[in-house]
Amino acid sequence: MAYTNNDFKKGQPRWCPGCGDHFFLANLHKAMAEIGVAPSQTAVISGIGCSSRLPHYMATYGMNTIHGRAAAIATGCKVANPDLAVWQVSGDGDGLAIGGNHFIHANRRNINLNMILLNNRIYGLTKGQYSPTSPRGFVSKSSPYGTVEDPFRPAELCFGARGHFFARAVATDAPGTIEVLKAAYNHKGASVCEILQNCVIFNNGTHDAVYSKEGRAKNAIYLKHGEKMLFGENNEYGIVQEGFGVKAVKLGEDGYTEADVLVHDAKCEDNTLQLKLAEMEWPIALGVIRDVEAPTYDDCVTAQIEEVKAKKKYHNFAELLETNDIWEVSN
């Protein structure tokens, strides 16, 4: 059965006008329609925060739970019913501050969740405090003299937790976001999608460099597995290896030619180069940065149950009792 956006839409979103979440939501509806899993077979689970309101606007099953626990709750949901497509939606505070522990462990376990991280580098719902992705020195209501701490870089955290999928998109970029969401769904295992999303009220302009189409043409590179890493309005730039890192070069300058440009390998088990790409400040890498197959936790749980069922001779409670040392008391 084919679905349309409308099959996944519900209600009237209450985010501020211009909030990046509006764009993301519309893209998620489209992506889900294209993926084609029925709303009844889909669960969208969020924590707390502006972006965590999202399940209220989905015509699927959903939960808008408690702060930071979305990944843990989604884990139980997926393991108990592996047939469901489970999407977890968190902001940078929900996912990486209070929920940081669950974020890393969901990645380590490689449970088949589509984990959306809407990153606006600010606490919006509590009205403007710095978040764990705010840059050092960031001035906010809770850091009037600037923060004195370094931010998390979500890709680094994901890779450090042995994550197998990491992709990035800009909330306003419909094709880019939809492509990433579909790839996340198709990847079996924990799939982290960092969505760069703008908070118009408390952190306006944080992703300015790539928020518009023109900006992305200048400042972003769309990574595609198996393709040369070329970017710029006329593909005049490329990514080359330098020492243990990567750098952007202009083709034809300093002796660089297209032959020097790296080919993106999202399937490479070793995440070293993928991490370098994810951490580039210019250009900002978009698209699927890492997509490596590995056994998923939910599959392994199910397989182990089947394996033990075949091996053991007891399969119900009455038979379980008989596995004990039993004595009989007679009259």
Binding site: A72, K78, A318
Partner: protein
């Protein structure tokens, strides 16, 4: 040889942690249970995992109480103490009754052993004031070596059989049929028949040693069996019984069983037990923390499983947020609290009842949650089943309270037949509501219907924000919040629970003893003792704490004197005072991390009666 008829006897096996005292104790209780004696056991582990051999801190004990009639506790003190080394005698003698028989392995009382056990002289019996006539002193290690010298076993394996010699001696002392022990071992070591036969040989040697050498000095006890309930039995610990209760409930309800947990003493054995039973489809997830244990269970519940999370008090602190989420989302969940000493890390291996008010009130907002408590190791099965039934049929998290004493102790468990247990019928949303259903529509019991993901046409969202009663949408309307608060409360209040049972002199007691949970055995034994002394005493023991049984006020107000005895500073007493107008009981409170001592209870209650 004198044969003493006894109503009940307590045996305490003690030795190094590696001496196999628990196995010896288990076999002895099984052998006794087989002839129809009632049994109650309790292990006493040291806090250290592997203390130095022969040291005082490395002693572990296993106490077995066997009785002709019902026994309710593992016993305050023992009639027979087995001490496998000097340190065991030193630390465990305090648990022996005056006049108790003491079995020691003299091979483990050498100068070094005595030094490690901090004896000052070689006259260790004199030092402890023990009458040598009461001691069965035998060179146990030497005899075991002799017995197995032709077995081809290495010295270490031979030494591991010492516990069986002690068991043989105890079996002789109580005139037990060794065949049961033999069968037990043959089954336990089915894959290593040579080990089974070696152990059997040693038990027989221990039995014969007693028969040949000590027939002139020791009594032989006989425990007759009264009130036999015919049937098939197994020995079960509280934690295992709890795990079995969940398995049984899931099967009865036709649901997957999901456990989200994080290891914590003394609850971890429930995780261990359930992890074994994948052939029953049980899913266990050892989570990254207590929070995720509960949160993942909430997720599993949403997905349609019987969801359980297991922990002890410190874990409840961390889980309370996700428990509250289950309260407002009205999803079924069972939260197991195997209580230990607190606050904070407190006394991890010891037993208390200090989490009751936390269970009742330890969450933000108006957060009513059913609370039930298991009264004995075998009752853990019944209460785990009952907690699951309440959770699933009333769409609510339920707290099941046990404690370290009940969880680690064991009793004879009559194999249940699930046919005898009530059906478990979750309120799945009826098909005819398709199209008109909203998530907070309720059935005639005030219970929200359950629509499990996967069902087409019932897609909905739940969450931690207050919802509109009618539409299920987020609502901050004052009247609606008040209404929803009342509906959640009314739903819990309406849960039917069995009436409070009064035991003993229910018509004319001068003192009513009141307790809850794991102190049942001790309170019952204290009541029995007082009644044997001619006092009129009754016992009302709570297993259902929220909601309280309907007849609670009637029972509590019926007797001239009431004492609430609990292992905390008065939490049940406070709860009852809150729920029963004008009820002001006397209190007996102990927070020692140890089970009640029946004699102390008897003395305290006697004083109350005589006041």
């Amino acid at each position: 040889m004198e044969i003493k008829e006894k109503e009940s006897v307590v045996v305490r096996f003690s030795g190094d942690s590696g001496d196999g005292m628990q196995l010896a104790g288990n076999i002895f209780s099984t052998v006794s249970a087989t002839v129809g004696n009632s049994i109650s056991t309790f292990p006493d582990y040291p806090a250290d995992i592997r203390a130095p051999q022969g040291s005082l801190t490395g002693v572990s004990g296993f106490q077995v109480h066997i009785g002709a009639g019902q026994v309710y506790t593992p016993g305050d003190q023992c009639d027979v103490l087995v001490a496998m080394n000097a340190a065991a005698l030193k630390t465990q003698y305090r648990y022996a009754k005056p006049g108790a028989a003491i079995i020691i392995d003299t091979d483990s009382f050498g100068p070094k052993d005595l030094e490690k056990a901090q004896f000052k002289t070689e006259d260790y019996l004199g030092e402890m004031g023990i009458d040598p006539d009461r001691v069965i002193a035998c060179p146990l290690t030497t005899m075991v070596k002799d017995c197995l010298k032709d077995s081809g076993m290495d010295a270490k394996s031979i030494s591991k059989c010492r516990n069986m010699f002690a068991l043989g001696l105890v079996c002789w002392l109580f005139d037990r049929d060794l065949n049961v022990a033999f069968n037990f071992l043959r089954e336990k070591f089915a894959k290593k028949p040579e080990v089974a036969e070696a152990n059997i040989k040693v038990i027989q040697a221990g039995f014969d040693y007693g028969h040949n050498t000590h027939s002139s000095v020791a009594n032989v006890y006989r425990i007759e069996t009264k009130n036999k309930v015919p049937g098939r039995y197994m020995d079960i610990t509280g934690n295992k019984a709890t795990a079995y209760g969940f398995i049984a409930a899931a099967e009865k309800a036709g649901l997957k069983l999901y456990l989200g947990s994080y290891p914590i003493t003394p609850a971890t054995d429930v995780l261990h037990e359930l992890s074994k039973h994948k052939s029953l489809g049980v899913i266990t997830v050892q989570c990254e923390d207590e929070i995720a244990g509960c949160a993942s269970a909430v997720g599993a519940s949403f997905a349609g499983a019987l969801a359980v999370t297991s922990t002890s008090g410190p874990g409840i602190c961390l889980k309370s947020e996700a428990m509250n989420l289950a309260v407002i989302m009205e999803l079924p969940l069972v939260v197991l609290d195997v209580q230990r000493g607190g606050p904070a890390t407190g006394l991890p291996t010891k037993s208390e009842q200090t989490d009751l008010l936390q269970a009742l009130f330890g969450r933000n907002g108006e957060s009513p949650m059913p609370v039930v408590a298991a009264a004995s190791p075998t009752d853990c099965f019944e209460m785990a089943y009952a907690a699951s039934k309440i959770a699933l049929e009333h769409m609510t998290p339920v707290i099941l309270m046990t404690d370290a004493f009940v969880a680690n102790g064991s009793g004879a468990f009559k194999l249940p037949d699930l046919k005898d247990y009530p059906a478990i019928q979750p309120p799945y949303v009826p098909e005819e509501l398709r199209g008109s259903w909203t998530p907070y529509m309720r059935n005639e019991d005030g219970v929200r219907y359950w629509a499990v993901p996967g069902r087409e046409g019932f897609e909905h969202i739940l969450g931690g924000l207050e919802k509109d009663d009618k539409t299920g949408a987020i609502s901050t309307t004052p009247e609606n919040h008040d209404l929803m608060t009342r509906k959640r409360q009314a739903k819990i209040d309406a849960i039917p629970v069995p009436d409070l049972e009064v035991l003993g002199d229910k018509d004319d007691a001068e003192l009513l003893i009141v307790g809850f949970g794991g102190t049942y055995g001790h309170l019952h034994a204290a009541m029995d003792e007082l009644r044997a002394r001619g006092k009129k005493v009754a016992l009302a023991h709570f297993r259902y704490i929220n909601p309280l049984p309907k007849n609670t006020a009637e029972v509590l107000k019926k007797y001239p004197k009431v004492v609430v005895a609990e292992q905390n500073m008065g939490q049940l007493a406070g709860w009852l005072r809150m729920k029963v107008d004008g009820f002001v009981p006397m209190q007996f409170n102990q927070v020692k991390g140890q089970p009640f001592v029946v004699n102390e209870l008897v003395e305290a209650f006697n004083q109350i009666i005589n006041k």
